[in-house]
């Protein structure tokens, strides 16, 4: 596990469905895998005081965020028997309906992927310094806060 170096988790703009499909396809040579579990975060067109969110503009303290993503990866691999794990987060503008977070875990058996995926997503929400500016139709904005 020591040779896993921090990667850049951030992707400019939305994460495309083609990218997700290709990522799945790449795992078909790993024939010890029996179960994949994928979480996708999608930008919601929430209505707040009668104004609709049309996009979220993501910024991050990128160095610290990538270090945190790396810590989460290491902690997850230590706790769960996973074959592989991939995390991608958007930076910049992501429109309502587009995907901003893609977490992908794989294992020989199913039980572990459910536990690992939820753990990773909760860790990301709580500990990674990413900030989201919800942009409304009239170009006003508010700052998103994770619950």
């Amino acid at each position: 596990m020591k040779d896993r170096k921090p990667k850049n988790v951030f992707r400019q703009g939305a994460i495309s469905s083609e990218f997700i499909g290709e990522s799945i396809a790449k795992h078909q040579t790993k024939t010890s895998i029996g179960a994949h579990n994928i979480f996708l975060g999608q930008v919601r067109a929430d209505k707040i005081n009668d104004k609709e969110v049309v996009a979220i503009e993501y910024t991050a303290y990128e160095d610290m965020a990538n270090a945190k993503f790396h810590e989460i990866r290491e902690a997850t691999f230590e706790q769960f028997e996973l074959t592989c794990m991939h995390i991608y987060h958007s930076i910049g503008t992501v429109k309502a309906g587009e995907i901003c977070l893609f977490v992908f875990v794989s294992s020989p058996h199913r039980k572990v992927v459910f536990e690992a995926l939820e753990y990773i997503v909760e860790e990301i929400k709580a500990h990674v310094p990413v900030f989201g500016k919800e942009i409304f139709e009239d170009e006003s904005h508010q700052w998103k806060v994770n619950n």
């Binding site: 910024t59 991050a60 303290y61 987060h89 901003c100 900030f131 700052w143 994770n146």
Partner: protein, 77 residues
């Protein structure tokens, strides 16, 4: 000493800058915050955490001169 501070999200809106270097003669984060609240009174109303060298610190932490960052609530995912 010189302290390099990064601002993000809502906090950067208040400071009107993403980064600045302050001259600072005291020692703890508490004392630095007092100085910042004078410069940016609206910061007082806002919730944020502070990281030094990418690790979250408490108000009593002694500053080392390494990079600080003011982090509003997280919204990843």
């Amino acid at each position: 000493m010189n302290i390099s501070i990064k601002y993000f999200g809502l906090i950067a809106e208040i400071t009107q800058c993403a980064h600045e270097t302050l001259i600072f003669s005291e020692s703890s984060l508490n004392e630095l915050l007092a100085q910042l609240y004078i410069k940016y009174p609206r910061l007082k109303e806002k919730e944020f955490q502070v990281a030094q060298d990418q690790e979250l610190i408490s108000k009593e932490t002694v500053l080392t001169g390494k990079e600080l960052a003011l982090l509003p609530p997280f919204a990843g995912g």
